[in-house]
Symmetry: D3
Subunit: 256 residues, 6 copies
């Protein structure tokens, strides 16, 4: 089985971290195809970064499906471009934000999300509403750590996140914690032990959900919202169309 | 990895069907431990059957965890006893109803459930509300086929279910179908092909979700709603306690 | 008119307290039939206690209806087994949790519940959602008093509950208080006077609601969710069936 | 115990019918004080009728409380003026719309309302949302019978209402029916027998709920939304104030 | 274009302030017709004031339409009588509460309301629910300033409101502020500058929305909830009818 | 006052139609700046078209603000890129979908949307949920007319839309109609007359709302979700950044 994971931003070290996390989570027999959106911003913080990342992200996903991927992961906690991705791809697709939240519902009645900047809070809240998960979410808390600060000083980041987790448990009644950024993945195990609740990060959660969906042979439904109007498919195939629209996204190769 | 699956009713042929479906869905390396609740009713249709099945079901699940199961599946589409099961077990637990619905959300914007009798409709609707899934559910439709009729005349059952699927797609806007009974599992693939939408049955969905959760090392949170009050744990361990309360559930051995 | 009230747990002193409270609340001409579920746990705290109590509770309710009860009360604030009870009984049934909350809506725009342990909070929140009452509930607060501590040291319990009521009024905007445990009934009047808001306990609220429903000649609807599938009724009457399933619940006689 | 019931419209025959229905529902020992709002419109159909009826209605309720009423009923299915009434009165108050709906939730999982004109549908839907009852309501259906037509040709009205009940059960999944107008009260018993589901009318439901609330000694909470600002109470008592504001409502005496 | 604005209370200084604010907000070519409800209370605080103000308010609005107003504004933040006004008028109508909240949604994801007394909080919350705006409202906060105190000591009022705005931003995550009383209008600009978020007052918001709706030629829909039953229109025209019912409201002339 | 309107697709005739509609709706003194996203798809039908249109759309909006626009309109009924646009712009921004729906709430209790293809239905439903408008929306109906067919055969399109409006009124209880595509604007007046309910199209609604917001001097809040992280603003100004990211969007000039 092949699962693609696309980093919608252009920061190589994050792509490598994400690919590593995905490969560590993958079952034997699962090949992880990792892609980087070189046309994307250096990190995705807020609506604008997200919007600008999508064309290159879709391009990368289209390449991934052509490369034989059975299922797909968008490695951004904002689930950037998820609906559009589901519209162009045959295989199932998930974002790491929705993946982590859905996994949390399997082991707790109410979870909290601890994310990076407050600019992302309403994006995540809107995503949770859209996904039918808001009634199970106790709170979305911002640590006010920029994405790239997680790499720059992991120890300080870990402390800051741990403080916010403590508040989520004590003040909001969280029974599990979802780490709201791909860059926080490595902290999950130690934070879970320290706080005595499940702490879930999205890359590994997404790998397991996509392995499951692909193993069942599921494809994204093409009825309703994820259909692409037929007229355009004739003489205007979307993968190529996308290249035309976002030619600068060309360097979107599997990050080996 | 070991995953337990418990049939909360006492009908052997259903237990065998469920166990077979689970084993077919399981990844290499996953051992399925199947249990039958001999103290349960012959099928679970409505609130009373469900309530009477729970003590024996919990007993079986406690045995399953003692037998080394890493995660657990309740093989009833009503998710009978799910909250109580999560309270006594360390590993993650899911019911096949919640599993199928969560899997459907990965490949479609709105799904419909086609279940057996109308007595189950409000149970399923309540479960979907509780799980935060009701906004993604287009409809819950009853085929008015009793559970055991699925076994007695599968061909007629298949036709009846197919009619209801057509209505869900045409009238309710369903983009995927969830089959609302463990006994419908074998129809999934052919119905999906006929109707051109994903058709998801719960046993295989639950196996993949529990494989995923167990692979991530997740345990059910013991903070909040799934905690068991400490006082009772002292001098009154629940697994034994359950035996005292529901001794007639004794014949709950792994099936085969 | 006869109204049954069943204590789903096996603690005699609680049964006596409940029966007394019901009789004090009853109108002249109302006979209270009180039952105790000897097969139940000593108290109901959390999902497991609730699940284990239900078969014996249903048995007791079936006996109560045979004894001529026109309406029925489940004397547990979790409304344990309410849906199943409504499925087997002809007369109307209510749990003391739903009763107290519905009564509160008659005299205040928003109420808070003060209950025993935090393990019950999500159960009560789920019940309120299911009953359509969550938008009128300002908060569910745990006093962290175990059920049996209410009897052991009533004065300390009263102080603890009073503190939590003050917080519900000041911090959550509660306009009325619902006492979330049958054991708190005796404190209602004095707490109401101290805090200047209605303080409602469930046993008396349930008695008045069931007196009203029974006086109107109402029966539980047998269409939809509270129907019992017909096939099983033939050759497998539920009251007897229940005895077979939970024979150890036999000592369920009217208390006194 | 004394319970007041106020007909917010000025049609004598309806006041008499309502008073009779209330007295038939009342327990021995309950005295029904019936009032008519002579300043109101001849019937209440839509927002304007409702708004114009309120000052006289409040005046009548203030007189009722001075006359010793322990609890109060607004005999209009739109629950006209309910919030304002709760603000000026000490005793509990209910409208017959909310009363019927709350009673329906005691005997069915989902109910439908069959009312008079479609102009009332959105009023009733808004009331149900406000009262937290909308998730339990399968539908609000208009029979397109004007209020006064119920009196003019009861037989034809009965047939029309019965047709709408059949649709609510078959098409909307109603498990109980709420009759959405005080004038439909007399049809309840026969319609319930014909359709095999509980059929609830609001006057009797309100009498039983108010008897219950008054027997418990409950008063409307004066914290929050039902408080009247203190400044105005000094030197400007509301009952008198109301007379000043709506002097034409003077002929509001207990109806016989 | 002519837009009417009606002060539902009888305090002349407030009517003048409101009329001035409306005229300042009006575009060139918009004539503001200002009315005062001399039959109303001196200020509207809570349900009773609101209910008593409505007949005179409706009367004033009917006069306004006869005077040629193309659209109408109810100058009370509680949106008193809005549904009834929409039922009697041809032109579009808005209350300043709904107007301010709708305008806030154009410039922020979540807004808070800062109002006068806590007695108004649940009224405003109910209005927001009814208008579909509650999910966008972070909080409704009471400053505990009576309406008339705003005029008596504007400086102290400004400080009190500013404190509450700071809390709404810091504790509730408000991104914009809605001033919950017509009397606060003059503070909007300076508060917006001080707090760095949009601060919206309802009179000017309502003027712009009604100018827009009137310019589009929109009329209030007479299908459904805002229809007035036909039978009454024959031989019982509402504007006259209203005069009969609330004759003391006669002195409702355009202010100035 | 200057208001920009951006056609996110690259079809010149639609840009011209939109610009004309906007200019017809504009008040004297309002200058409409119209832009076309030459980098966009020929029409926006579904998630993929929308996602690919956003970078060029944002670029055009940034140019518009530099050109002195006080407020902005996204001329796509899907409100494509609305959140990102609000993040980069100082002035208020609205999409024509949200504009039409908000305007509808001023003149009707419940509205229906009649849109082009069913692929847009779930996009519009999600937008309505996000905007807090779903409880006021009776239905979203697809006419199955592709966007460009509206231009190709307007008469046939008009008939098809009229049929769907009739169904929305009769079957769904719509009291007003929102036309779900910029290309339907010209039909609004005649359809309103034929069906006797307000029929609202988004371009003119958006012009009036933005004129109103701009006249009040409102700016989009930069607290919370619409903030752009500060770090990136230093040395990486967004308007230029966007050009770098989507250079092919260069031909985005005011459409004369």
């Amino acid at each position: 089985m092949r699962i693609s994971i696309v980093n919608p931003n252009s920061t190589r070290s994050m792509t490598d971290t994400i690919a590593l996390a995905a490969r560590q989570a993958a079952a034997r027999g699962t090949e992880i195809l990792a892609y980087q959106n070189d046309a994307g911003p250096v990190s995705i913080e807020g609506h604008v970064d997200g919007a600008l990342a999508v064309p290159g992200l879709l391009h990368a996903l289209a390449i991934a499906e052509r490369d034989g991927a059975d299922a797909h992961i968008i490695a951004c906690f904002d689930d950037t471009g998820l609906d559009a991705a589901r519209s162009i791809l045959q295989g199932p697709v998930i974002g790491i934000g929705e993946a982590a939240a859905r996994m949390a519902t399997l082991v707790a009645r109410r979870f909290s999300v601890v994310t990076t900047l407050s600019v992302s809070v309403s994006i995540l809240e809107d995503n949770l509403i859209r996904a039918g998960l808001s009634s199970l979410c106790a709170s979305v808390r911002a640590s006010e750590l920029p994405v790239l600060a997680l790499e720059a000083d992991p120890e300080a980041a870990n402390i800051r996140i741990s403080e916010e987790i403590a508040r989520a448990i004590d003040e909001d009644g969280a029974e599990a914690i979802v780490l709201g950024c791909a860059g926080m993945a490595e902290f999950a195990a130690s934070l879970s032990e320290r706080h005595g609740v499940p702490v879930i990060e999205g890359v590994s959660a997404a790998v397991k959900l996509m392995e499951g969906a692909a193993a069942l042979g599921l494809k994204t439904s093409k009825r309703g919202g994820y259909a692409v109007p037929g007229r355009k498919h004739q003489g205007f195939a979307y993968p190529e169309g996308m290249i035309v629209h976002s030619g600068e996204a060309a360097d979107t190769e599997p990050a080996e």
